[in-house]
C-alpha cells in the first residue's frame, strides 16, 4: 500500500502509457517512407508498447495504491501537469490499451489497400494517446487536452473518406424527416460530430472555470484535499450547477440526450474507427469523466449534491430509452450498433447517477463501470464483425444481407457470441452480469423515484434484446437478398474474411463468454476493488453514508435509508428476474420476427398505428430535424437577414453615403469654379453687400 509520488519507479510507466502513442503518431509519417508494411507494424507496435506499459500498472489496482507524478507547467498560475494512476484509471487504461491494440491488428487487415493510410495511423495513434491522457491525467485542464484530442481525432477519422463518395454515406438517400435530409456525407458527419461535442465542451469548460474560480486548481487530488471551495460554492448555490455543467461535457462526448445526434452520423468512418470510438475511446471518455468526478462530488455530499446525481441518472435513462427505441427501426447494421452504444452508455450514466442517490455508492458505481467494461468488449467485437460483413457484402444495409451465416461462418459465430452479451443472455455472458448489477443497484437504492427508473431500464433491456436478435436475424438468417444475388451474378461470391480480420474480434467475443461464465465473481471482485478505492481515497463507506443519512442537516428528501432484499450471494431476486424476463421477451419477439421468420415484419406497415410508431422511430423522434431547424437553419436565416439588411445596406452604406456626399460637395464647389471673371466679381459684390447689410443691422 505504498503511495508513490514523483517520477520514480512505476510513475514513468504511467507517463509512457499516453506518451508512447503520441510518439508513434509523430514519427509515423517518417516511417511511412521506409515502406507500407513497416509503417503498419510500427503503428501496431506503439499500440502494443502502450498496452504493455498499462499492464505493468495492474498491481496498483489490486493493492489499492496510487501513483501521482507531477511536473511544473504554467508557472504564473501555479498549475502543474501530472498523471494519476489509481485503481480507476489503471483499469480503464488497460481496457483502452488492449482493445485498441486488437483494433489496430484488425486494421492492418481491414484497411489493407486503402489510400492515405499514413493519415489513418496518425490519427488512430493520436486517438488512443489522447484517450489515455484523459484517463491518466491528474487535473481537469490536462484532461481537457486529451478530451479535445479525442474529438479532433474522431473528426478526422469519421471524415476519413473525405472525398465523399456515395458508398461512404450513412442513411438512406432521399430520406427526409421534417424537411431535413437524413443522410450525410463523411465530411458533413465529421464536422457535425466536432461541433456538437464542442457544444458540450463549452459547458464542461464553464463548469471547470467555475470550480477553478473558487478553488484555484484543476487537480483532482487538490480539489479533494481542501474543500473550502465547495463550501463557498455551495453557499452561492453554484456547486450543483458547476457539477452539471461539467457533466455537460460528458453529455456531448458520450452522445447523451440532448446531444446524441452526432453519434449516428459518425458511422461514416471505417468500421475499425467506429469500433475504437464506441468501445475504447471517444464515447467512453464521457463516462470516464463522470466516473472520475462522481466520487469527488459524492464526497461533497454534505453540500447536497443529490440533484447532480439525479440529473446524471435521468439523462442516462432517457438516452437509454430514446436510442434503444430508435435502434429497433433502423436498417443499417452499423447504425443499429451506434444507437445501441448510446443506449448502453445511458445505462452506465444511470448506474453512476443512482450510485450517488443510494446508500451504497460503491454498488452503483461498480455496476456502471462493469457495464463499461463489458460493453467495450462486446461492442468492439460487434463493430469489427459488422465491418467484415460490410466489406464482404459491399452495403451498409441489413436488407442487402440475409443468410450470411452460410458464407461467413466464423464471423457469424463470433458476432453471435458478442451479440448475446449485448442482448444479455442469462448467466454465461458478461453483458448479463453487468446489466443485472445495474438493475440491482437501481432497485437497491433508496432513491424515491427508483421505480420509474427501473421500469425504464427494464423496457430498454427488452428492446435491446429485440434489436440484437433483429440485427443478427436480418444479416445472418433468412434468404439471400436481391443485392447478394446480383453480386453472385457478377462473380463476387461472399466469402469468409482473412484471419487477421476475424481473429481480433474472435478473441473479444470469446472473452465476453469466458469472463461471463464467471461473471458474478468478476463483478464481485470489481466491486471489492472499487469499494476499497472509494473508502481509501474518498472516505466513502457504507457506514459513513448511513451516518450521513441520519443527520438531518445533510439529508435531502430524495434518498431514504433502504433495506434491500438480497438472495444468497448477494443476488437481488427482482433484478435477476427482470434480467431473465427482459431477455426472454425481447429475445422471443426478435426470434419470431427475424430468425424463425414466423411473423412477417411487414405487418407493421399494415396497421396505421404501428406504421406511425415505426415512422416516428425511423425518423429518430424528429430530434435531428428539430436540431437542424433550431440550431442551423434558423440562426443562418437570421444571419442572412442581418447580412442583407444591416451589413450590406447600413454598414456598407455608411461608406457609400460618405463617398456620395463628398462627391456632391465637390460637384457644388466645382460648379462655382467657372473661370469667368464677371461671375466672380458678381458673387464678390453680392457678398460684400450682404456683409455690409449685416453690419448695418
Amino acid at each position: 500500500m505504498v503511495e508513490i509520488t514523483g517520477f520514480g519507479g512505476i510513475a514513468v510507466n504511467v507517463w509512457l502509457v499516453w506518451i508512447l502513442p503520441f510518439i508513434g503518431a509523430a514519427i509515423i509519417a517518417g516511417v511511412a517512407r521506409a515502406g507500407i508494411k513497416i509503417r503498419d507494424y510500427t503503428a501496431v507496435g506503439f499500440a502494443l508498447a502502450s498496452a504493455v506499459s498499462a499492464t505493468t500498472l495492474i498491481p496498483l489496482a489490486f493493492s489499492n495504491s496510487e501513483v501521482h507524478s507531477q511536473v511544473n507547467w504554467i508557472a504564473v498560475l501555479h498549475l502543474k501537469a501530472g498523471v494519476l494512476g489509481d485503481p480507476l484509471s489503471v483499469i480503464m487504461a488497460n481496457l483502452v490499451a488492449w482493445i485498441s491494440f486488437l483494433i489496430f491488428v484488425y486494421s492492418t487487415g481491414y484497411m489493407h489497400g486503402e489510400r492515405d493510410l499514413t493519415r489513418y495511423w496518425f490519427f488512430m495513434l493520436f486517438f488512443i494517446g489522447s484517450m489515455q491522457l484523459v484517463v491518466l491525467s491528474d487535473n481537469l485542464l490536462m484532461l481537457f487536452f486529451g478530451w479535445e484530442g479525442v474529438g479532433l481525432a474522431s473528426y478526422a477519422l469519421v471524415g476519413f473518406w473525405y472525398t465523399d463518395r456515395k458508398k461512404d454515406f450513412v442513411g438512406t438517400e432521399g430520406h427526409r424527416a421534417g424537411g431535413i435530409a437524413m443522410w450525410a456525407s463523411p465530411s458533413h458527419a465529421g464536422a457535425k460530430a466536432f461541433i456538437m461535442t464542442k457544444a458540450g465542451d463549452t459547458m464542461m469548460l464553464a463548469g471547470m472555470f467555475l470550480i477553478f474560480a473558487y478553488s484555484g486548481t484543476f487537480g483532482f487530488k487538490e480539489l479533494l484535499q481542501n474543500q473550502g471551495w465547495a463550501v463557498q460554492m455551495a453557499h452561492q448555490n453554484l456547486l450543483v450547477p458547476a457539477a452539471i455543467l461539467l457533466f455537460g461535457g460528458a453529455i456531448g462526448k458520450s452522445a447523451q440526450f440532448p446531444l446524441n445526434e452526432w453519434l449516428l452520423e459518425a458511422m461514416t468512418g471505417p468500421a475499425s474507427v467506429s469500433a475504437l470510438i464506441h468501445a475504447a475511446t471517444m464515447v467512453k471518455a464521457g463516462v470516464f469523466l463522470v466516473a472520475r468526478i462522481a466520487p469527488l462530488f459524492f464526497a461533497l455530499a454534505a453540500f447536497g449534491m443529490t440533484q447532480f446525481f439525479e440529473v446524471v441518472a435521468w439523462v442516462g435513462a432517457i438516452t437509454a430509452f430514446l436510442l434503444a427505441s430508435q435502434a429497433i427501426a433502423n436498417p443499417e447494421i452499423k447504425k443499429v450498433l451506434a444507437y445501441s452504444t448510446g443506449s448502453q452508455i445511458g445505462y452506465m450514466m444511470m448506474a453512476i447517477g443512482i450510485a450517488g442517490l443510494s446508500t451504497n455508492f460503491a454498488e452503483g458505481y461498480t455496476a456502471g463501470f462493469f457495464q463499461l467494461i463489458s460493453h467495450a468488449m462486446f461492442k468492439a467485437a460487434l463493430f469489427m464483425g459488422a465491418g467484415a460483413l460490410l466489406h464482404v457484402v459491399g452495403s451498409r444495409f441489413m436488407t442487402d444481407m440475409g443468410g450470411m451465416r452460410k458464407y461467413m461462418r466464423k464471423t457469424y459465430i463470433f458476432m453471435f457470441l458478442a451479440a448475446m452479451s449485448l442482448a444479455a443472455a442469462p448467466l454465461i455472458t458478461l453483458g448479463f452480469w453487468s446489466k443485472d448489477a445495474i438493475f440491482a443497484a437501481v432497485l437497491g437504492s433508496g432513491y424515491v423515484h427508483s421505480l420509474p427508473l427501473f421500469i425504464m431500464a427494464f423496457v430498454v433491456a427488452i428492446m435491446t434484446a429485440f434489436y440484437t436478435f433483429r440485427m443478427i436475424g436480418m444479416s445472418f438468417f433468412g434468404k439471400k437478398s436481391p443485392h447478394l444475388e446480383e453480386l453472385e451474378k457478377t462473380g463476387h461470391h461472399p466469402h469468409e474474411v482473412r484471419p487477421i480480420v476475424w481473429v481480433p474480434f474472435a478473441i473479444l467475443a470469446v472473452a465476453t463468454i469466458a469472463i461471463g461464465v464467471v461473471g458474478f465473481a468478476f463483478g464481485a471482485q470489481l466491486q471489492h476493488i472499487f469499494a476499497d478505492y472509494l473508502a481509501k481515497y474518498f472516505g466513502i463507506t457504507q457506514q459513513k453514508q448511513l451516518q450521513l443519512l441520519q443527520n438531518p442537516a445533510t439529508t435531502t428528501q430524495l434518498v431514504k435509508p433502504h433495506t434491500d432484499t438480497k438472495l444468497f450471494l448477494g443476488l437481488n431476486p427482482y433484478a435477476a428476474a427482470a434480467s431473465f424476463g427482459a431477455f426472454a421477451i425481447g429475445g422471443f419477439l426478435g426470434y419470431m420476427f427475424y430468425i424463425a421468420r414466423k411473423i412477417d415484419p411487414q405487418i407493421i406497415s399494415k396497421n396505421i398505428v404501428t406504421r406511425g410508431i415505426w415512422k416516428f422511430l425511423y425518423n429518430r423522434w424528429y430530434l435531428n430535424s428539430a436540431l437542424y431547424w433550431g440550431a442551423v437553419i434558423g440562426p443562418v436565416a437570421i444571419y442572412r437577414i442581418i447580412w442583407r439588411y444591416f451589413e450590406f445596406t447600413v454598414m456598407e452604406g455608411i461608406s457609400h453615403a460618405f463617398e456620395f456626399s463628398m462627391a456632391s460637395f465637390s460637384r457644388v464647389v466645382k460648379a462655382g469654379q467657372t473661370g469667368i471673371t464677371q461671375t466672380y466679381l458678381f458673387v464678390f459684390g453680392v457678398g460684400i453687400m450682404i456683409i455690409i447689410m449685416l453690419l448695418l443691422l
Binding site: T163, T202, A213, N226, Q227, L300, I540, N551, W643
Partner: protein
C-alpha cells in the same frame, strides 16, 4: 542616453535599408531582394531577442531613451506588455518576407501580363484563372524572354524583357514598403511617448495604404482609399485624445503621464478614454466601426491582410489600461459587451461568405471581438488572456491567410463554390491550415486554447466575484460563440478541402516549399505555445499584475496554494436560496464546517 542601441537598430534598420531593398529589387531581381529583406528582418528580430532575454533574468524593463526637444524623450522600451507584441510581429514580418517571394512574384507577374499582354491577357487575372492560365502560359512560351523560375509547383514561366523590368521594380517597391510597415509596427509597440506612438501609428498606416492600392485585389485603389479614410478618421480622434492627455499631464512621455495622471479632471478623463478607444477601435475593427475591414483585409495582398488589423489592441492596453487606468473598472463592462457583439457579429457574417478572404476578414473581426471581450473582463486573468490571444489568434489567422494565398496561387480563385476536395491535392496546405483552424477556435494543443481558457476564466471570475449576473451571462454567450467560430471555420474547411474535386482542378499541385515551410514555422510556434506558454505568459502576466497593482477593483490572479478568489459569502449570485438549485444542506456555521472537514462527512484522509 541609452546604454545600448539594440532597439534603436532593430526599429530603424528596416526603414533605413528600405531604399536599398527597392533598388536591389529593381536591379538584381526577386531572389536578391527577398534574401536581403529577410536578412535585415532576421537581424532586427535577433536584436529584439537580446533585451528580451535580459528581461527574463530579473529585470522587468529594458529601455533606450533620447532627448526629443519639446515632446520630451524619444524612447524605445521593452517590457512585459510590449515584448509579446514586438516579438510576434517581427516573427510574422520575417516569415512573411519569405512567403512573399513566390506569392508576390506570381501576383506581380499576373499584373505585368495584364499590363503588357494586350486585351487577351486581362482575362488571365480574372477569377477563373486555373486552366485558362496554363493555356495562357503555354501560349507565351514561344515568345523569347527571360525565364522566371519560381519555387514549387508552377514550374517555369516565361515573360518578356519589358515585363520583367516592370516586375522587378514593383517587387522592389513591395519589399521596401513592407519593411517600412515592419518598422512602423515595432516603433508603435516600443514607443515611450504619446507623440512618438502617434507618429509610428501613422507610419503603419501609410505603407499599408500603398501596399493595398498598389498590390491589392479587385478595385484596389478604391479599397485603399476607403481604408485610409476610415483609419485616418480614427487616428484623428485618437490624436485629439492623446493631445488632451499631454495637455493635462504636462508632457507626452509615458512616465510623465503616469506620474501626473491624477491631474486629468474626471469629466475629461471619460472623454479622453472615449476618444482613445474610439480611435483605436476603428483600427481594431470593433462592431459598428468595422465597415472598412472586410473590403480592405480581403482586398490586400495576403501578407498585408495578416498584419492589417489588431495591433491597435496594444494601444488600448498601453494608453488606457496601463497609463491612464482611469475608469477601467466602470467601463470594462461596456468593452466586454462590445467585444461580445463583435465576436458574434464577425462569426455570423463569416458564415455568409463565399470568398475565403472574406471569411477570414470577418473571422479577424470576430477574433478582435474576443480580444475586446478579454480586455473588458476587469480581471488580470482576462487581460492576460486577451494579450496572449493577440499572439495566438494572430498566428492562427496568419496560417489561414497563408492558406488562402496558397490556394489562390495554385487554383487562381478563392471562391469556395469553385473549390472542393483539395485535401488530396494540397496535403501540406491542408494539414497546416487545420492547425491554424484549431488555433483560431481554441482547441488544444494549439495556442488558441491556452489564451482562450485564460481569457474566459477571467471574464467568469469577475462575474462571480462581483456577483454580477450580466457578466456571467456574457461569459455564457461568449462560450457559445466559440461554437459559432468552430462552425464557420469547419464549414469553410469542408468546402475547400473535402468533397468532390471540381473537374478543372484535378491537375493542381501543392504550393512550393517557400509557402509550406513558412506556414509550418508558424504552425510549429502555435503548437509550442499551446503546450508550454510560459515564455510568453510569464512576462505578460507579471506586467499586467503590476499594472493593476494599485487598482483593487480589478480582480487579481488566483492566489497560490489551491485557493481561489475570495468571494464575499454574503453575495448570492444567480440563484437565491429557496428556488432553482437550492440546496438545503449548506453548512453555514463554522462549527458545521469543522465537522465536515474533520470527518463528519466524507473527508477523511
Amino acid at each position: 542616453m541609452a546604454e545600448s542601441f539594440f532597439l534603436l537598430i532593430a526599429t530603424f534598420m528596416p526603414l533605413l535599408l528600405s531604399p536599398v531593398a527597392y533598388f536591389l529589387g529593381k536591379r538584381a531581381g526577386l531572389a536578391a531582394v527577398t534574401w536581403f529583406s529577410f536578412g535585415v528582418l532576421v537581424i532586427s528580430t535577433g536584436l529584439l531577442f537580446v533585451p528580451a532575454s535580459m528581461l527574463n533574468g530579473g529585470r522587468t524593463v529594458y529601455s533606450e531613451s533620447y532627448p526629443w526637444g519639446q515632446f520630451g524623450n524619444f524612447g524605445l522600451r521593452l517590457d512585459g506588455l510590449s515584448l509579446p507584441f514586438a516579438i510576434i510581429n517581427y516573427i510574422w514580418f520575417t516569415v512573411l518576407i519569405i512567403y512573399s517571394k513566390p506569392y508576390m512574384n506570381r501576383k506581380i507577374i499576373d499584373e505585368a501580363r495584364s499590363r503588357f499582354g494586350g486585351g487577351k491577357s486581362t482575362e488571365s487575372t480574372s477569377v477563373a484563372r486555373g486552366p485558362a492560365y496554363a493555356a495562357d502560359a503555354e501560349r507565351r512560351n514561344d515568345t523569347s524572354g527571360i525565364a522566371n523560375t519560381e519555387s514549387g509547383s508552377l514550374t517555369t514561366t516565361t515573360i518578356g524583357v519589358e515585363e520583367q523590368r516592370y516586375v522587378n521594380s514593383q517587387l522592389g517597391l513591395y519589399f521596401a514598403l513592407f519593411m517600412v510597415f515592419a518598422m512602423g509596427t515595432l516603433g508603435m509597440v516600443l514607443a515611450t511617448n504619446l507623440i512618438e506612438f502617434y507618429v509610428f501609428f501613422e507610419l503603419v498606416l501609410l505603407p499599408s495604404f500603398f501596399l493595398i492600392s498598389f498590390f491589392g485585389y479587385g478595385s484596389r485603389q478604391r479599397t485603399g482609399l476607403m481604408f485610409f479614410f476610415w483609419t485616418h478618421a480614427g487616428s484623428v480622434v485618437l490624436l485629439l485624445g492623446l493631445l488632451s492627455i499631454g495637455f493635462f499631464a504636462g508632457g507626452f512621455d509615458y512616465s510623465t503621464v503616469r506620474a501626473h495622471v491624477s491631474q486629468i479632471p474626471a469629466q475629461w478623463m471619460s472623454i479622453i478614454i472615449f476618444a482613445v478607444v474610439l480611435g483605436l477601435g476603428v483600427k481594431i475593427g470593433g462592431f459598428l466601426l468595422h465597415s472598412w475591414v472586410p473590403s480592405s483585409v480581403a482586398g490586400a495582398p495576403t501578407p498585408v491582410s495578416i498584419l492589417l488589423v489588431g495591433i491597435a489592441t496594444y494601444g488600448i492596453l498601453r494608453i488606457w489600461l496601463d497609463l491612464l487606468g482611469g475608469n477601467y473598472v466602470q467601463y470594462s463592462l461596456y468593452i466586454n459587451i462590445w467585444g461580445l457583439a463583435t465576436m458574434i457579429y464577425g462569426g455570423a457574417m463569416a458564415l455568409m461568405q463565399d470568398d475565403i478572404r472574406k471569411v477570414l476578414a470577418y473571422s479577424t473581426i470576430s477574433n478582435m471581438g474576443y480580444i475586446l471581450f478579454g480586455l473588458g473582463s476587469g480581471s488580470v486573468l482576462g487581460v492576460t488572456g486577451a494579450t496572449l490571444l493577440y499572439v495566438t489568434s494572430g498566428l492562427g489567422k496568419a496560417i489561414l491567410f497563408m492558406m488562402a494565398g496558397s490556394i489562390s496561387l495554385q487554383t487562381g480563385t478563392t471562391s469556395m463554390s469553385k473549390l472542393g476536395g483539395l485535401a488530396g491535392k494540397m496535403p501540406y496546405t491542408a494539414v497546416l491550415a487545420m492547425i491554424g483552424l484549431l488555433t483560431l477556435f481554441g482547441i488544444p494543443p494549439t495556442s488558441g486554447f491556452m489564451s482562450e481558457w485564460i481569457l474566459f476564466n477571467g471574464v467568469l471570475q469577475t462575474g462571480v466575484h462581483d456577483a454580477n449576473s450580466l457578466r456571467i451571462a456574457l461569459f455564457g454567450f461568449g462560450m457559445l460563440t466559440t461554437v459559432l467560430s468552430s462552425a464557420y471555420l469547419l464549414w469553410m474547411y469542408k468546402r475547400i478541402f473535402f468533397g468532390k474535386i471540381p473537374q478543372e482542378l484535378v491537375n493542381i499541385r501543392d504550393s512550393g516549399r517557400y509557402i509550406t515551410i513558412t506556414m509550418a514555422a508558424l504552425a510549429g510556434l502555435t503548437l509550442i505555445i499551446g503546450v508550454y506558454p510560459d515564455p510568453f505568459l510569464t512576462p505578460i502576466t507579471t506586467y499586467i499584475q503590476g499594472m493593476f497593482h494599485n487598482s483593487p477593483a480589478v480582480l487579481p490572479l488566483p492566489s497560490s496554494g489551491g485557493s481561489g478568489i475570495a468571494v464575499p459569502l454574503a453575495k448570492n449570485i444567480m440563484f437565491k436560496s429557496g428556488n432553482g438549485f437550492s440546496s438545503n444542506a449548506v453548512p453555514n456555521s463554522a462549527a458545521q464546517m469543522e465537522r465536515i472537514n474533520s470527518g463528519g462527512a466524507f473527508a477523511s484522509h
